[in-house]
């Protein structure tokens, strides 16, 4: 299939849905003035579709570190660390992340995507086998495609299916690398890591576990290390990968490990070797954000109380949500058209969420991905629930004013229901935006 055919196929696929409203891939925020507020189509929007879990993107210490480093060291490194050398900040960041995880080694990559393709291509050599969760992120799939190893896919969050597949590989001489995520980005569900770790141990030598904590760094675990920490299996997690693009609030990625000789990976990992390194500004941003994460554990607590409020609120309204309380709340919808309609009406009313429809979703689900930040105020969450209540009822997705709706009003003191009527506070919001600039 040539380019023209591919473009025609995509147009046919999405054109119909796009005709129903906005194009999610072409939205433009004219202004962003806080972790939870932006201007879209000239109107203020509450952001419930980011990965800004801790709300650190406007933390004054973080911003100060970023600008100071940029002033001191320049806007970019203009090359890769292998060819053009590391800056002190790269090394310091790696040392700090290793210390944060209490692991011996850390390699920092230019993005989380690059960390995944880098680690997977480095680990999955010619006679090795990569075993990945069916719902893995695109960067994991792409890494597997690039790697010389074979890739076998097991059922989502199923240690049983993984065990079955490992059993079929008994006697196979190569390494087996199991890859899962801490929190899955679409449905917000967590991996049963204790069970996966047990399967790994059972499978014997040369079996490794790699965990992508993209959405769980700073979110799960006693000190925010992620699901490996929350499930108390950090020693079994041979490679922990993560990104700075979510709770850390900038871009970049990393992998930590205790595996002996880990540092040599830098010398054969092409996605590390052949792309420019993180800029001084992003390095300092990440360093400052890790410090703030450690200094302010209350952000994690706030994130979770906000997550519980939104998850329960949406459930009480009658929306079908993901399986567990999580900073990623999936609202499951019966068809792509319904998801598109709800997503558009929410934006009309000042609530920005993410839309996900097949084939980008597991099990051909159509859903809105509603994400929570520690920076959301209770009032914002109440207001968003109010909009969900009115728009959901208007579109016939939930029943209006049912017992569930009343229960929701009790929880929120009824304020959200009142708010629902007057969501067009556009002028006021823009004025605020202008004032903060």
């Amino acid at each position: 299939m040539g380019l023209k055919d591919r473009i025609a196929a995509v147009e046919a696929n999405y054109g119909r849905l796009r005709a129903l409203g906005r194009d999610p891939s072409r939205l433009e925020f004219q202004n962003v003035w806080s972790p939870t507020e932006a201007t879209l189509e000239g109107r203020p929007m509450m952001l419930f579709g980011t990965n800004n879990y801790l709300g650190l993107t406007f933390d004054p210490n973080v911003l100060e570190a970023a600008t100071a480093a940029t002033r001191a060291l320049g806007s970019g490194t203009t090359g890769s660390r292998i060819a053009n050398g590391s800056y002190g900040g790269h090394k310091a960041l790696e040392a700090e992340i290793a210390r944060f995880y209490a692991k011996q080694h850390c390699i920092v990559f230019s993005t989380g995507y690059v960390a995944n393709i880098g680690m997977i291509t480095a680990l999955g050599g010619k006679d090795d086998v990569l075993l990945i969760d069916a719902d893995s992120h695109a960067s994991i799939y792409d890494g597997c495609k690039m790697a010389d190893a074979e890739t076998i896919r097991f059922r989502h969050n199923s240690p049983e299916d993984l065990a079955k597949k490992l059993r079929r590989l008994e006697g196979h001489p190569g390494d087996k690398i199991i890859i899962v995520e801490g929190i899955y980005s679409m449905l917000g569900d967590t991996a049963p890591l204790a069970e996966f770790a047990a399967v790994k141990r059972e499978a014997g030598d040369n079996v490794y576990l790699m965990v992508d904590e993209a959405h769980s760094l700073g979110v799960l675990g006693e000190s925010g290390r992620g699901q490996c920490q929350a499930a108390h299996v950090e020693d079994d997690c041979d490679f922990i990968v993560g990104t700075f693009s979510k709770s850390v609030g900038t871009i970049g990625g990393y992998c930590v490990s205790n595996v002996e000789g880990f540092d040599w990976i830098r010398s054969f990992c092409r996605p590390y070797m052949f792309t420019a390194s993180m800029t001084p500004g992003t390095v300092s941003t990440a360093r400052a954000a890790f410090r703030r994460m450690a200094e302010r554990p209350e952000l994690r607590a706030k994130l979770w109380s906000n997550s519980a409020a939104l998850f329960r609120g949406l459930g009480d309204l009658g929306f079908e949500t993901g399986p567990e309380v999580s900073p990623v709340v999936a609202v499951k919808l019966p068809a792509p058209e319904v998801a598109v309609a709800l997503w558009n009406r929410l934006i009309d009313e000042g609530v920005y969420t993410n839309i996900a429809i097949p084939p980008a979703t597991p099990n051909a689900l159509s859903l809105l991905r509603v994400s929570v930040s520690a920076a959301h105020s209770e009032a914002q969450i109440e207001r968003a629930l109010g909009v969900f209540a009115s728009v959901g009822a208007e579109l016939g997705i939930i029943e209006p004013g049912t017992a569930r709706g009343e229960r929701f009003q009790v929880i929120t003191g009824g304020a959200a229901a009142k708010e629902a009527g007057r969501t067009r506070t556009a002028q006021q919001g823009s004025a605020n935006a202008a004032a903060t600039r």
Binding site: E150, T151, I152, R153, R168, A364
Partner: protein
């Protein structure tokens, strides 16, 4: 597994695939699994999970990428069964 003939594998795959496909047109050994069934790439991979259980084999993703028709898939299943 070694006892299963190519025809038996093909027949079983056709059964399982027909149950998945909603379109009117019958699924045959010449059916192109992606182009003719209306299944998207993820659904095809999910279907492969069923086949792995059914035939007690692992089917690597790069093998699926090579497959076009039901007959190709049956051949891949048979080959993988021999080596496992």
């Amino acid at each position: 597994m070694g006892m299963t003939t190519a025809d038996e594998i093909e027949a079983r795959i056709l059964d399982l695939l027909s149950a998945k496909v909603k379109s009117e047109t019958a699924v045959t050994r010449e059916t192109n699994i992606v182009a003719d069934t209306g299944l998207d790439s993820v659904s095809v991979m999910d279907f492969v999970l069923e086949l792995e259980d059914e035939f007690d084999i692992n089917i690597p993703l790069d093998r699926i990428a090579e497959v076009k028709t039901v007959a190709d898939l049956a051949k891949a299943v048979q080959d993988l069964g021999k080596t496992s």
